[in-house]
């Protein structure tokens, strides 16, 4: 009985004291952290709202299908962004065609063939370093190697040069995700395949690559999304164009892209051009968000498969 009284007494002391110095301090710290959290949410909210309102409201068939007009020609209208949308798609697709095979090949080499020696350590390190190279440097590099020397059939600014610059930026992400995706595949699968007589090549193409498919696909989509939004490597490689890409030398001529259009038109003193830049941002952001969401979905699929 005496013990119980003692116990009740202690329990009373354990009550939460709202106004003790310690508890107020705790709440204060939580409040400060909460304020900083709110600050970190504000920019993205405002950016999305402005892109949606200023870009989304002026969306029309004309804007999507017409050509842009050179600044100053017509003060009321700046035309459309039709060729820029197509240009962005063309340049990004070619960049992917260049970097995806090389990236996946490199990743396969690192994860499946290399023995963890000095060379593969150096390549892994190089991949990390290349991922940190500023995108403008990729533009400078391609400008110097291809544009200024007119290396490719004597054309200087070209869609191909822009694509090459973008592919430099995509390469490290693809190698890294392929490498990591393949490393996650269980060794039992490999041994099983080799055990029933499959060659190493067959094992990789039929067993391990399909098993790592969704990780690799996520990596590729994310790098495509990043490349499609890049401007710095394009401004002096792919340049810009006020015309539709046409003829058989599409790739050897300057090409328009959404990001460069936004950059050029944002700095124009004409309001019509500025408005068009907002419309282009809206389209670009929507494209990138869609890619990101698809990438996330595919990434989630793997997680679910693994937990089953």
């Amino acid at each position: 009985m005496k013990d119980r009284v003692q116990l009740l007494h202690t329990a009373k002391q354990l009550n939460y004291k709202t106004f003790s110095r310690k508890n107020i301090l705790e709440k204060l710290q939580t409040a400060i952290a909460f304020c900083l959290l709110i600050i970190s949410i504000i920019p993205i909210t405002f950016i999305l709202v402005y892109v949606l309102i200023k870009g989304g409201t002026q969306l029309s068939i004309d804007i999507i299908t017409q050509l842009p007009e050179p600044p100053g020609d017509d003060l009321l209208s700046a035309g459309g962004i039709g060729n820029s949308i197509i240009g962005t798609i063309i340049v990004t697709t070619i960049a992917s065609v260049i970097s995806v095979p090389i990236g996946i090949g490199g990743g396969i080499y690192l994860a499946e063939y290399s023995s963890g020696g000095l060379f593969s350590r150096f390549i892994r390190f190089g991949t990390n370093v290349l991922a940190g190279v500023p995108s403008i440097i990729a533009g400078v590099f391609i400008y110097g190697i291809i544009v200024s020397t007119k290396l490719i059939y004597g054309s200087n600014y070209s869609a191909l040069a822009g694509s090459l610059a973008l592919s430099i930026l995509m390469l490290p992400t693809i190698i890294k995700t392929t490498d990591e995706g393949l490393k996650l595949v269980s060794d039992d699968l490999r041994r099983g395949a080799l055990g029933i007589g499959a060659s190493k090549f067959i094992t990789i193409t039929r067993i391990t690559l399909p098993a790592a498919f969704s990780t690799i696909a996520t990596g590729i989509l994310l790098s495509v999304a990043r490349a499609a939004g890049e401007t710095a490597p394009l401004i002096f490689t792919a340049l810009f164009s006020f015309y539709w890409p046409q003829g058989n030398e599409i790739l050897l001529e300057p090409i328009a892209s959404l990001s460069v259009l936004i950059y050029n038109f944002a700095l124009e003193p004409y309001e019509a051009q500025n408005e068009l830049a907002w419309a282009a941002s809206f389209i670009l952001v929507m494209m990138l968000l869609a890619l990101n969401i698809i990438a996330r979905r595919i990434g989630k699929l793997t997680m679910d498969n693994k937990s089953n």
């Binding site: 939580t30 909460f34 950016i47 990390n128 190279v133 500023p134 533009g139 590099f141 401007t231």
Partner: protein, 285 residues
Amino acid sequence: MASMVAIVLIGILAFIFYGSLESMARFGFKYLITSGWNPVSDEYGAFTAIYGTIITSLAALTISLPIGIATAIFITEDILPRKVNEFIGLMVELLAAIPSVVLGLWAIFVMEPFLRPFLILLNQTFSWLPFFGTEPRGPGMAPAIIILSIMILPIITSISRDSLNQVPKKLREASYGIGATRWTTIFHIILPAAISGITGGALLALGRAMGETMAVTMVIGNSFNFSWSLLAPGNTISAMLANQFGEADGSQISSLMYAALILMILTLSVNIFANWLVKRISLKY
């Protein structure tokens, strides 16, 4: 195919180094500490741009580091329901998906006009400090710093969150068990355990801020006149490259290459150090 990485990387370094040789021979070390940029008389000095690159990225890091870490702490703790935490995490990551040119557009037309009254106030109150010594007139270093800190926020937040999540639960439970409060645990147990990951993330963000081009070019004003003031127009190496490279020729190209080489060395050393730090933490637990 893996060696493509090495070829490209060494190619870039060799190419930029080779391109900058001419300028290096002509200006040498003086290039780094003088700030004239005159294509007509062929005199180049990159001090304004180097100062701009270092100051904008460091200031941006100083602003977004506390915000990013606090956000990461908040969403790894159980203060809010898990759904809300996931939503906030998603919002911050969305920010990383917005292309920098769109951020630049937003910065020109929305953020800079909004900030100007505050910057003017800053100038009036602290005009005796060299950093706030000039009157803000539209584009300048300060808007560039703010937009940079917005851009690197997702990197800091997501890497801090990952390293906070890696801290073993046992540490937290033990700390609560001996009567420590939530924030005592955070400051004395969890943050110290995650510190090298967070530092690595901060350095990666710094490297990213140094190399960031578009948004900065659009708001910094691209001036070659050197000024200590953060409110005056300035320049960064990457902004200078974006503006000048397309129209440059002869020794100007070589001078730009020299600047690119400096940028490359700056970002590479920061990135390599960051990768080394991040690797160290992942071995620990």
